[in-house]
């Protein structure tokens, strides 16, 4: 029971990561894969932020009045740990950047193949490969 209370939230992050990873690998639809990627990344971010939590501590902004004039003493126990917050700001921005690129790719793929399902795209690619090797009229380039 002790273990449960002290670690339950770590376990839930692990479940979220598993859901995200499964979606990225097993789903057929490209947008679903991208959503899975987002869930995976955000679960890792939640993991980091939970490291920064501290019992009976407030947000990491020094209250006005403390520290100014160096008369009041700032105690480290009063404030949450700011370092994981910084790291995760970076990670959120990185993940939204990756999301943007992924959505752009998905759109371009849709424009080209008219579908967002991976198996249909692979079918089209295979048909294209077969027709490429059949078509061997002079001067026709295989790889351009």
């Amino acid at each position: 029971m002790e273990l449960l209370i002290s670690s339950y939230n770590y376990w839930i992050y692990i479940i979220l990561m598993m859901i995200g990873l499964y979606a990225m690998l097993a789903k057929n639809n490209l947008i679903k894969k991208i959503i899975g990627m987002s869930i995976f990344q955000t679960a890792i971010i939640v993991f980091y932020v939970s490291i920064s939590a501290k019992k009976d501590a407030t947000i990491p902004i020094i209250e006005h009045g403390k520290g100014h004039g160096h008369s009041a003493v700032i105690s480290a126990m009063d404030y949450a740990n700011p370092l994981p917050h910084v790291l995760m700001l970076t990670a959120i921005v990185v993940s939204v950047g990756t999301l943007g690129v992924a959505l752009a790719l998905a759109q371009k793929i849709y424009d080209r193949y008219k579908t967002l399902e991976e198996d249909e795209i692979l079918e089209q690619l295979q048909e294209q490969a077969v027709s490429d090797s059949v078509m061997t009229s002079s001067g026709c380039d295989n790889d351009k």
């Binding site: 990627m37 980091y48 490291i51 009229s137 001067g139 790889d143």
Partner: protein
């Protein structure tokens, strides 16, 4: 104004500013030609700075540079020792040569209004790779890993038709890899509270028995293995590098996987010290066997390919197997071989991809199916694009031959020497399976390349290869010169291998 101690940071700052300037120049002037000149200028400066740094490190030992002036572990620190300065020089040299080489192919393959954008993103890829190599902070490495990944996805996606899906698959797998690395770093952080690599190495020994540290090692290693395309996590690589534009594959193929190998070495040497990795965890033999599977798998898959560029990508997979196996042999010889192979393989791969790019530029056909395999009723020109090339493009094929000999491992080319160290290391560690795999792979490479030589020498070239009448049949000088330089350097590096080992590499290997 800028003193000698600031030179390491210039390796990163100059290309970063350069990328922005290239983009601005493209936007404001609307002319694409200026981008190439600026890119070459910026990369030359970066190469000069990295060579200077290597010389400094050889003279004075490891350098530490504090960004923002904050002492580690509060701030971010660069730690430059023999290992990274060597890899930095390789990264910058290869990228400069590849950019000069691919000037023409960029003009041919990328729409003109996107060229300056292409170069901007290309420089940022190189900045990301340099940054991964030079940093001494585990989280900073993640950010730079993501930069090199994002730029890679974009640069591949502008290739031919199938590059889009290839880039998407690369994106999914690459993000899994980078996120696993991040998760591993998170486990390190939760147990120690630190992100600086040097700090971690002093904090970790008391925690060796902890399951969380083992997990973080597994996560970081698996993440990096995905990024370096270690069989069977390699599935993103063949499609991505075959369909990418020539410029991208000439820079990404030699460098991205090698820098990932460097990151694995760095995590083994500095974060989790050799004491933990080799002695405490008893998995060295297991990993070497996985490497054997990687080498054999990569080589066999390469045999099955019908397209030159695709064949080369599978050879990269096999080469990565060499390096991972060598690193886990757990002796000085093996590690020396691995580090030397990072240098050699980058150059060999560059040479091969440049040669393939030249052939594609001239003939547009990289198929390896010999004409006489086809039915008699079909056109002769449907056969291999490499038919009869020895006569038509002698210089290109000469460079290709040297690189091929280096891949097979024929002295005095560089490939022989790194393989030699790896074999010696295998014998010392009594890993006979690995040694057999190395020899097997050399034989397979020999078969592969001699097959190509046969087509290129004996086959009659088809009359219609899209070459204009009156034009020289060999590749243009801007492509030949870099190709020649790299081919010659393969021989020079081979001859001087001993010196490189005694002066640089032996200091890079930790005393175990």
């Amino acid at each position: 104004m800028i003193s000698e101690e600031q030179i390491p940071v210039l390796i990163i700052v100059v290309p970063l500013l350069g990328a922005l300037l290239v983009n601005l120049a493209g936007l404001l002037t609307g002319r694409a030609g200026i981008s190439l000149i600026l890119t070459v200028a910026v990369l030359s400066l970066a190469l000069a700075a990295s060579v200077q740094t290597l010389l400094l490190v050889m003279e004075k030992g490891a350098i530490s540079y504090r960004l923002g002036g904050w002492p580690p572990p509060f701030g971010i620190e660069y730690v430059i020792d023999h290992l990274n300065s060597l890899v930095l020089v390789v990264v910058n040299a290869v990228s400069l040569i590849a950019v000069v080489f691919s000037g023409r192919s960029v003009k041919a393959e990328i729409p003109s209004h996107k060229i300056s954008l292409f170069y901007c993103i290309l420089i940022l890829l190189i900045t990301g790779l340099s940054g991964m190599t030079i940093t001494g902070d585990a989280f900073n490495l993640y950010v730079l890993l993501e930069i090199s990944a994002l730029t890679g996805y974009a640069l591949i996606a502008v290739g031919e038709d199938r590059a889009l899906m290839a880039s998407f698959n690369y994106l999914i797998l690459g993000t899994i890899g980078a996120s696993l690395y991040l998760l591993g770093t998170g486990h390190l952080y939760i147990m120690t509270g630190s992100l600086n690599m040097g700090d971690l190495s002093s904090l970790l020994p008391s925690l060796y028995g902890s399951g969380a540290i083992l997990t973080s090692f597994i996560l970081i290693t698996v993440g990096i293995l995905i990024k370096m395309a270690f069989f069977p996590l390699h599935t993103w690589l063949p499609n991505s590098y075959s369909y990418a534009p020539t410029a991208t594959s000439c820079i990404a193929a030699p460098l991205v996987t090698k820098v990932s190998v460097y990151v694995m070495l760095r995590s083994m040497f500095t974060i989790f010290t050799p004491a933990y990795v080799y002695s405490y965890l008893n998995i060295s033999s297991l990993i070497v066997w996985l490497a054997v599977i990687a080498i054999v798998g990569g080589s066999l898959l390469a045999l099955a390919q019908r397209d030159l560029k695709r064949m080369l990508t599978y050879l990269i997979v096999a080469e990565v197997g060499y390096m991972v196996g060598g690193a886990w042999l757990a002796n000085r010889l093996g590690l020396t071989g691995t580090i030397l192979h990072i240098v050699n393989d980058a150059l060999m791969t560059l040479c091969l991809f440049m040669a393939a790019g030249t052939i594609a530029y001239r003939t547009g056909n990289l198929s390896l199916i010999a004409s006489r395999d086809r039915h008699g009723s079909w056109d002769k020109s449907s056969g291999s694009g490499l038919a009869g090339l020895f006569k038509i493009m002698p210089f290109t094929m000469a460079a290709f031959t040297i690189a091929a000999l280096s891949m097979i491992g024929v002295p005095p080319t560089a490939g022989f020497f790194s393989k030699w160290y790896l074999v010696l290391g295998a014998i010392e560690a009594e890993q006979w399976g690995y040694m057999a795999a190395l020899i097997f792979s050399s034989l397979v490479n020999a078969v592969l390349f001699f097959r190509i030589f046969e087509i290129a020498y004996f086959e009659k070239s088809s009359g219609d290869m899209g070459i204009k009448r009156g034009e020289s049949l060999e590749a243009p000088l801007s492509m030949l010169a870099p190709l020649g330089i790299v081919a010659v350097s393969l021989i020079i590096l081979g001859i001087y291998s001993g010196d490189i080992v005694t002066h640089i590499i032996q200091f890079a290997v930790p005393l175990s």
